[in-house]
């Protein structure tokens, strides 16, 4: 094996990447002709092979871990392009090169593993959809793009995957494109992601300029220059780009220019990209709408993999992010705020997928909080566990929707928890797996979610990010912002509240779906009913049924759907052993990832209280107990509200403050806020531009000039009236004008630089002209009389001085006209010898 795939030319990566691409191509081009079984085979074989190759690769990677922890498998495909960067404008090659290290190895396994399970699930879920082949083509293409994203060895290549997953997400959200709302949601997702991509583009041009590289190794080598003020790596925020505002704009000039370090600029730009992809404030609004896509898509793309790309990127470039404690603080604050905001919204939603969508946004907020406080392993571990339990939840929800679809064909009604209830009787497997995943996400002790979330909360409290290069602080502009000490506890309590809400809304969802009475339709006795008429999971078929008639009980899903659920539920419960925390010796995940994060977190992330390790260890158990309370309180309230009280308290609360309830139900009307502010501004700007373009620009350059030409034509035409008297009159007037011109002298002169600051002034000749000069401009003529031959005057003018020369011309008729001439000597231009 080692000889077949050497570390520096690990061509097996081509298989990992190539199989999903092949699947996408085959299903996309020939899918319609192949038929469902062949499409299914192609898609599953593609992802399955990719998964097997990933497992092999993972163990190969494990075998190459060096003594210092370094492990990297590299495969260079071909040279892609190049650009200009660095301090001296050198050529920076950008190659199509992939690499696998510990971090991307884990991601690769999640993507192909969870991806394979979801593909298996989808073969049944999407059965009989007319876009079956198209669906799997997109899904395979998505897996390919996501693998490119994590395996890329440079930022531009990562960007290929980054945009690729955005594109697949766009195509899959709008999969049922004939409903405008779906296509609209896809567009919204793509554009929100594009705003993030804008940030990534900005980060790339900053990085290539300041570090002279875009591959991970090169960036890490040049990263120090992002913070080193000696190398001019300051980005001028105000005045824009540097410079001075003068004149009318002077009031805009600040006392001292506002600058940030290049590290902060780069990381903030990267963060914008990450918030777009990972659905954080301010760009989270697309993710809930993305639930318009088929449910397996929600599970794969909008829960388990794509949306974690932002967290992955922060982890990947952790050594850049830690250079800016300010950005780290922003990440943590954004994460905590998003976690809380999304949790509040999730607590009142009635659509099963919407609840899970906001739950995803909220959990991503936890991950951001984790990486933002410098606990990269903890944040990434939450990515890992979340992939299992959220995929399980979404697939479970899909299973439920699939059952509801048997009689409720309206997309919204079939997903409404108010139509569900009591499903545990009929769908035992779905119920138990859903319950397991719910327990994991709400943090029941010893499930995977408990370990990952608890670690994040704990580290949020005790960690403190500091300037990793304290030596710079003494230099001018070397000061680096550091977050205040009180931030940790604040973040902790915000996240604690969000965790409580998580427990509440997840238990609420679980209880409403699986407990109580079934409210979808009247369930009749099988013997009284005919054969079920409709039995497909596909949407888009609209024939309403009379739900008051008794019908079959909701059915459990086929094995293709339940087996993935069982596997995912097992991992949801058990994956925590990989990183149990609590000072336990055996921490496989942390140990595995340590080489990736060690350099970044060593100097930049300390414990609070002046790096007090004893205090931190002391806090561990106290905080764990408080975190357990979050789980207990949330669960207990939800139980009390929905089982003994049958939802009565919730109704009363909603009635008590209907305004607030509507506001939260409408997602705090953030979408409307965006529409009224940013979108309206851009929209009216575009309207104005389009109007200006037609009315002013075109009016000025096309219509006004046409008009002027037209008017002058009309005016001139008036003279061409064919009346001889008029023509004769013009001739006389013209002759008179010419006559006058010749009777008056016309003084004119040219000044020629003769070198050595000497100038020669030459008067223009004319018939019978005589000249007299006043060379020094003192008002007295050099000679009183006019002389015919006196046409030139030589002068010497010092550089930078001005000299006034007067000239009078007398013609043969004795008429005299005068002219003033300024002879200005320029300062000597720096003309070098050539």
């Amino acid at each position: 094996m080692p000889s077949l795939f050497p570390v520096n030319d690990y061509a097996l990566i081509a298989v990992i990447l190539g199989m999903p691409l092949l699947g996408a191509f085959v299903n996309g081009v020939w899918g319609k002709r192949l038929g469902e079984p062949a499409v299914k085979l192609m898609a599953l074989a593609a992802i399955g092979t990719s998964f097997l190759a990933s497992v092999v690769t993972f163990f190969a990677l494990k075998g190459t871990v060096a003594a210092d922890g370094e492990a990297k498998l590299v495969w260079s495909a071909w040279e892609w392009m190049h650009t200009t960067g660095g301090k001296n404008g050198v050529s920076v090659p950008i190659d199509v090169r992939f690499s696998i290290d510990q971090l991307s190895g884990v991601m690769m396994l999640i993507i192909t593993g969870v991806g394979f399970l979801i593909h298996v699930y989808a073969t049944s879920y999407m059965a009989k959809d007319e876009g079956y082949a198209r669906f799997f083509a997109y899904m395979n293409l998505f897996v390919f793009s996501m693998l490119v994203l994590v395996l890329a060895d440079s930022l531009p290549l990562l960007f290929v995957g980054w945009e690729g997953v955005g594109l697949c997400s766009y195509l899959l959200i709008g999969f049922w494109y004939q409903t405008s709302a779906n296509a609209e949601a896809g567009k919204k997702a793509f554009i929100a992601n594009r705003i993030g991509d804008f940030g990534l583009l900005c980060a790339m041009f900053l990085l290539v300029r300041y570090t002279g590289a875009l591959d991970w190794h090169g960036i890490s080598n040049g990263a120090a220059s992002l913070l080193n003020p000696g190398e001019g790596a300051r980005v001028h925020v105000w005045p824009l780009g540097g410079g001075q505002y003068t004149g009318l704009l002077h009031f805009l000039q600040p006392k001292s220019p506002v600058t940030i370090s290049a590290a902060t600029a780069v990381t903030l730009a990267l963060l914008l990209g990450c918030t777009g992809k990972s659905a954080q404030i301010p760009l989270y609004v697309w993710l809930p709408d993305a639930m318009a896509g088929p449910t397996p898509v929600s599970a794969l793309i909008h829960a388990a993999t794509m949306v974690t790309a932002g967290v992955y990127l922060i982890c990947r470039l952790s050594f850049v992010f830690v250079l800016s404690p300010f950005t780290m603080m922003v990440i943590a604050v954004v994460g905590a705020a998003t976690a809380l905001l999304a949790a509040t919204i999730a607590a009142v939603q009635n659509d099963i997928k919407k609840v899970l969508a906001y739950s995803t946004v909220s959990q991503l907020g936890f991950m951001f909080l984790g990486v933002g406080v410098g606990a990269f392993t903890a944040g990434f571990f939450h990515v890992f566990t979340h992939a299992f339990f959220k995929a399980c939840l979404f697939l479970g929800a899909g299973s439920v929707i699939h059952a509801m679809h048997a009689r409720i064909h309206d997309g919204n009604a079939s997903q409404d928890v108010r139509n569900m209830g009591g499903l545990r009787k009929w769908m035992p497997l779905t119920h138990w797996t859903f319950a397991a995943a719910t327990l994991a996400i709400i943090g029941l002790p010893f499930t995977s979610g408990f370990f990952s979330k608890d670690e994040i909360l704990y580290r949020a409290y005790v960690d403190h990010t500091v300037n990793p290069m304290p030596g710079l602080a003494s230099r001018p502009h070397g000061g680096v912002f550091e977050p205040p000490q009180w931030l940790g506890p604040v973040l902790y309590w915000v996240a604690w509240t969000a965790a409580t809400l998580t427990a509440f809304y997840m238990v609420r969802l679980y209880l409403l779906t699986f407990w109580g009475e079934f409210k979808g339709w009247v369930v009749g006795r099988p013997s009284m009913l005919g054969w079920p008429a409709h039995h497909g999971g596909a949407k888009g078929e609209h024939h309403e049924e009379d739900l008051s008639q008794p019908g079959y009980a909701p059915h459990e899903s086929p094995w293709q759907m339940t087996v993935p659920l069982i596997v995912l539920a097992t991992f949801s419960l058990g994956a925590g052993v990989l990183n149990p925390g609590f000072g336990i010796e055996r921490q496989p995940m942390e140990h595995w990832l340590e080489p990736v994060f060690h350099a970044a977190s060593e100097k930049a992330v300390l414990f609070g209280h002046g790096n007090d390790a004893v205090w931190a260890a002391d806090m561990m158990w106290k905080l764990a107990a408080i975190s357990f309370l979050a789980f207990a309180i949330g669960t207990a309230i939800a139980w009390w509200m929905y089982i003994p009280s049958r939802g009565e308290p919730a109704r009363r609360m909603a009635e008590a403050s209907p305004g607030l309830y509507r506001l939260v139900l409408d997602k705090w009307r953030i979408d409307e806020l965006y529409e009224a502010t940013v979108l309206a501004a851009v929209d009216s700007l575009a309207e104005t531009s389009a109007w200006v373009d037609q009315a002013i620009v075109d009016g000025l350059f096309a219509r006004l000039t046409t008009l002027l030409v037209g008017i002058s034509g009309t005016l001139l035409r008036a003279f061409q009236n064919g009346v001889v008297h008029v023509y004769a009159a013009f001739m006389v007037a013209g002759l008179a004008a010419i006559g006058w011109f010749f009777t008056v002298p016309h003084p004119a002169a040219t000044v020629v630089d003769a070198g050595n600051d000497d100038y020669v002034v030459t008067a223009a000749p004319g018939i019978g002209y005589a000249y007299r000069w006043d060379a020094d401009g003192d008002g007295r003529w050099d000679h009183e009389g006019f002389e015919q031959g006196d046409t030139t005057l030589k002068l010497h003018v010092e550089p930078g001085k001005t000299m006034l020369v007067r000239l009078e011309v007398q013609n043969a008729f004795g008429l005299v006209r005068a002219k003033k001439i300024h002879v200005v000597a320029r300062p000597q231009a720096p003309i070098s010898s050539l």
Binding site: H82, T83, G243, A686, R826
Partner: protein, 628 residues
Amino acid sequence: MESPETPVFSHEDRASWQARLAVIAVVAALAALAARMSHEAVPVLGAVLIAALVPRQHGWTVRVPLAAMAGLLALFVVRMWPDVAEVADATATSPEGGHILSWMIALPILGALAVLVLPRQAEGAQRGLTLVVMLTTLGMSLKLLSVSMGRGFHFDENVAWIPRFGIHYHVAVDGISLWLLILTTVITPIATYASFGSIHARIKEWCFSLLVLQCGMLGSFVAMDLFLFYVFWELMLIPMYVMIGVWGGSSRIKSAIKFFLYTMFGSVLMLGAILYLAYDYARVSGGPPSFDYFELQRVLLPLHVQGWLWAGFTLAFVIKVPMFPLHTWLPDAHTEAPTAGSVILAAVMLKMGTYGYLRFSMGLFPEMSAAWAPNLAGVAVLGGIIYGALCAWKQDDAKRLIAYSSVAHLGYVMLGLFALTAASIEGSVIQMVNHGVSTGMLFLLFGVIYDRRHTRQLNDFGGLARPMPVYAALFVVATLASIGVPGTNGFVGEFMIITGTFASNMLGHFNGVQATGAAIGVILGAIYMLMVVQKMFFGPVSEKNAKQHDLTARELLSVAPLAMLIFIIGLFPNVFLSQIKGAAARVKDDFDSRIENNPPPMFYEGPTKLMPRRPEAPQPATAAAAPH
């Protein structure tokens, strides 16, 4: 033409299956043979086979040409692969004789004359001749690829034309004009072939115009004598004016005149500047005037004189590009032009402006170009990339929208030129080609639906993805290229331009702001192009749209090569960049050497003088070459 009701396989089809299998077997045998002969054959045959298998509803009349195109493009990539090309260059001395450039210019003109003598009724012969001439020109242009371009000029031909005024027939090609030439020879046959599906009146005149137009475009890209350049520049104008005015839409006359007057206004000023420059050369050198590019490049003018001449040239070019605020002729011209006219106008003729600015404004007047670069870059970003995109967003007419998107895209190209870093110039040149490919494809595709529905209003469409899935897929591909999704060609150019812009020190302290502004264009591009896709293809399908049939063989064949090129440039840009690199570096070095000696803000204000010839300029014409 097939209609959707026709079954995909009839009985005859089944009967001939065995024959087809035999054909496949023969092809496979040939493939195996070829694979043994050369390692190049494997990717080529792979491409051929895949392309032959892809089309769903078409027979061998489509599969074979498609396979041929794919094979040729694969061969092109394999042959031009940077390492391979360098090795080949080292071993073989490049034959540059044969007057290829002259033949490329002459052939379309000869073809045009031949079309004139054909009888009017023989429309098939006229069409066939036109295509044969264009494809021959394409074949000849591929011969140019046998030479590694490097920094210099190649296929240089320099013959005295009007010796009394120092006017020469001087043509040459370098890494910058190479791809623009090939773009021209690729796009014109495609546009011509596609147009035969929709133009049915005055075929003779149509073919004549197309051939003359091609001659003018090719000549402009290779002319190294300013007088000759001007002749071709004006020659190009007339056929396009006629094409819009005769075969255009409802208000075609107005648009044609607007197009003509705008362009003419600029060119007349350029003519004045050319004449002044030529006679200034005579004054300084003491010899006869010269219109030769490499000689005129030697003239070092004081800044205040340079300003006027630079303005004359630059005005002509920015009108052609077009840059804000001189762009309003473009939407009108595009809207009224027939599909082929729009394609050629967008794909090639607009590049005349950017190419001209790079070659002439920057080559002849570096000081003035440097002085104006920061301001013009601001115009390119604000007035082009952002304003153009915002205007595009608010158009209801699809062709107007694509026209405004051209304004935005060419804003990137101009920004790259103003920034003047190695990467940004290369990015600009590749972006010129990219825009030609992707916008050309968009216009072609829109022409398809226009021929069916005879409306350009976006709101008249909707849900077309259902009746026309192949069309929708190809349109989405063109859209992705247009908004610069990585992996397609658009990204390569934009990325190089944006990163190159930020690395620039030509733009003063505004390089960061301008790079950011250019990056914002990426968002806006997605907004307006996705709106088009949304309105045309998604949502419920109306009855009129539901009956439309998918692409015909002609439409598919004309679009396919462009779709392939989108991915080839996107994935293997080095194939193209390796030829551009040297020329871009030369332009930058020429520019920098002048600016270093005459630094800003004064630049140069002394008397006009002659500098030495630039090292990469081809040998001047010998006295023997000039007839006495």
